[in-house]
Symmetry: C2
Subunit: 408 residues, 2 copies
């Protein structure tokens, strides 16, 4: 077995160690490292504290080929990552004239001399470091080679960090980066049953199943760096998973729905009760969605279902708002949105209130209506709290749009 | 200065160190620890690997009063946190009869004997550990006292972990937990100018400003545990921040809007273009929002703005879809939703396409319309990419609803 090089990720910020912010940078750096063929052995978050940063960097740098640190490069007094890194490698910080000149150009618009001085502090570079220029912010990143190991320090703001991260890893392409098959409408256990037999055929491929709310990621990794066998295994796995697998390139479910709609020349609309706009928000999160997304009616109150979507109040009276009949009428009502050719509707009980003995919490009715007349409906029951029910209902609604386009 | 007890958080799972999942558990545990008066010195994520877990636990337990670990307690072969913890404290794992009996009751519904055996594995308890019963899942947590330090291992699923975490920290109430004043519509620098002078009046209070997209958290911490002075400082800070501060109890902006609407007996609606349903989704995320939220029209296409919201096509033709006139017409159109008394509209350029020289990317027009006739509008320009523009526009739209109710 081919041993992967090991890496560690360090994220600096008291907002992380107090739980005020999620460590999104750490996850993004880890993903990039894995795709570049590294094995990430630990991710560590520490507060903005010189001693804490020094301790963790010294320890990790002694045992990992590559350590990437984000955060703590800004101009304020609690930005001390630069100083910590210099202490760890035992080198001095020197003002870099080119970086200083670039910063000075920005500083001139500031009036406060104290803030000018602290901004220029960002031009301090560790002796012998490679400067990673700041294309979108003020603080440059730095890459330091030390005793056969590499330490990279990057700024915290994601849009500043990202280009430098890709710059650092550009020359480092894994021979066989992992393949993630994203699946929906299948349980983790069924995905396992479909894919596990392939491990015998492809002995150099290792498999991880990762279940999320309503989705399963099937992750294939080569244990030897054999790209050909990994590609063959991924192809076989995709076939075994069938329609449940919606992407192999990291695309989200919403992006997949938008892509298929563009290809099939469908125009989408949604009518949402319990999902409250989540389906529309997911679709419009995709750049270019305006090509195919026409609009949505969030009909939270029954009067809104009738007035805006044209749902007959007698239907609601007879079957209740959470029913097949109302879901179908909502989906057909969404086709009133000009140009829409395909609509999905959601109506359900997300909780905490509203449950009845025959319609327990988590009951959601879905309907899909096509402009040319076809309509389908189905009911799902989800466990969990309000957020989980709404998230799973969003996923199912997107998947029903996807499957209805694949079927047609 | 009163020294806080130190703690560390460890989260176990290869899905974390590959960047496939964000470490939401780590942040939740850190928040609970800070509120219980601990200083969290590091948060570490490691893969599902016995040796890696042993190494990090041994090291952290030697220097922290309390180490809380989540994940790796399930029934599968890669769940090895229990074994790692037992190795670190040098004690044996013993099958706990009470836990085994509870698990067996569940196991009987499983047919596969192998899965029954691995499920029962979850009844293995470290010698001398206090068992934290599983109320919502299968694996119990464990609390181990070791050489004057405390090690707590908890299951990974948040709804299983949460009650055990609160059980462990219940007896540990900080004399003066930090106060977070959540603010919107104010810059980090202006919030600092408003609050910093108070530090002279309240010398035992320390201040952190935490800027997010469109929001600022002002966090006040007592350095001595003096609850009276902290409360007084928080009161003074809230006064200094004025309307910009919307909550002091952790409530989200959307929850604050819903609360005020309930109190003022307003019924809310939204008309969304660039936010694409995000405002409606945020409002309906709040339990009980159905009391005051009537619905929303996501009018992504111009024809939808006209057909569903009644925006005059001539207005769009004359001013463009991203304009004060169209925002106002959209907000008034949203008042067509039955029962709505207050509506907000968004129309803007989230990118990547659609920008023009006089309407650059990030330009968003907002309008608020009241059923009794008042209408206001304003324009904002946001930096950043599509996601950032949409998120900031959502925050502004919610804030405009809030401020318009406070003013009335």
């Amino acid at each position: 077995m081919h041993a992967l090089e090991t890496a560690a990720v360090v994220t600096v910020g008291t907002e992380l160690t107090t739980g005020h912010r999620l460590d999104t940078n750490g996850a993004e750096v880890a993903r990039a490292l894995v795709n570049a063929g590294y094995s990430v052995r630990e991710m560590v978050s520490v507060p903005d504290d010189l001693q804490a940063i020094v301790a963790v960097l010294a320890e990790l740098l002694s045992r990992r080929a590559l350590v990437i640190v984000t955060g703590g490069l800004g101009p304020t007094h609690d930005d001390v990552t630069r100083e910590a890194a210099a202490l760890v490698v035992g080198r001095t910080l020197m003002r870099d004239p080119a970086v200083e000149a670039a910063l000075s150009a920005r500083v001139s618009v500031h009036r406060d001399p104290a803030s000018a001085i602290s901004l220029l502090h960002q031009a301090d570079v560790i002796e012998g470091a490679r400067v990673l220029p700041a294309t979108t912010g003020t603080a440059p990143g730095q890459l330091i080679e030390y005793a056969g190991h590499t330490l990279v320090i990057l700024p915290g703001p994601p849009h500043e960090m990202r280009p430098m991260l890709h710059d650092v890893l550009r020359d480092r392409v894994a021979s066989a980066p992992p393949v993630t098959l994203k699946c929906v409408g299948i349980t983790e256990s069924d995905a396992g049953h479909a894919v596990l037999p392939l491990l015998t055929t492809y002995p150099t491929v290792d498999l991880t199943l990762l279940g999320g709310p309503g989705e399963v990621d099937v992750i294939l990794v080569s244990t030897t760096g054999d790209d050909v066998e990994l590609t063959a295994a991924a192809h076989a796995a995709r076939t075994a998973l069938g329609d449940a697998c919606y992407s192999a390139d990291g695309s989200s479910l919403a992006a997949t729905v938008i892509d298929i709609a563009i290809e099939r020349e469908e125009s989408l609309a949604t009518a949402e009760s319990c999902t409250g706009g989540l389906v529309a928000a997911a679709l419009t999160d995709v750049p270019g969605s305006s090509q195919v997304f026409r609009g949505s009616v969030v009909a939270y109150a029954n009067e809104t279902k009738s007035a805006v979507l044209g749902v007959d109040p007698a239907l609601i009276e007879a079957h209740g708002a959470v029913s097949e009949a109302v879901a179908v009428a909502m989906a057909r009502g969404a086709l009133r949105i000009p140009g829409a050719t395909l609509a999905v509707a959601t109506t359900g009980i997300a909780g905490p209130g509203g449950a009845t003995p025959d319609k327990p919490l988590g009951t959601v009715w879905f309907a899909v209506a096509h402009a040319e007349g076809r309509t389908t409906a189905e009911m799902h029951r989800y466990g969990g709290d309000r957020t989980m029910v709404r998230d799973r209902a969003r996923t199912t609604a997107l998947d029903l749009l996807r499957r209805s386009m694949l079927d047609s």
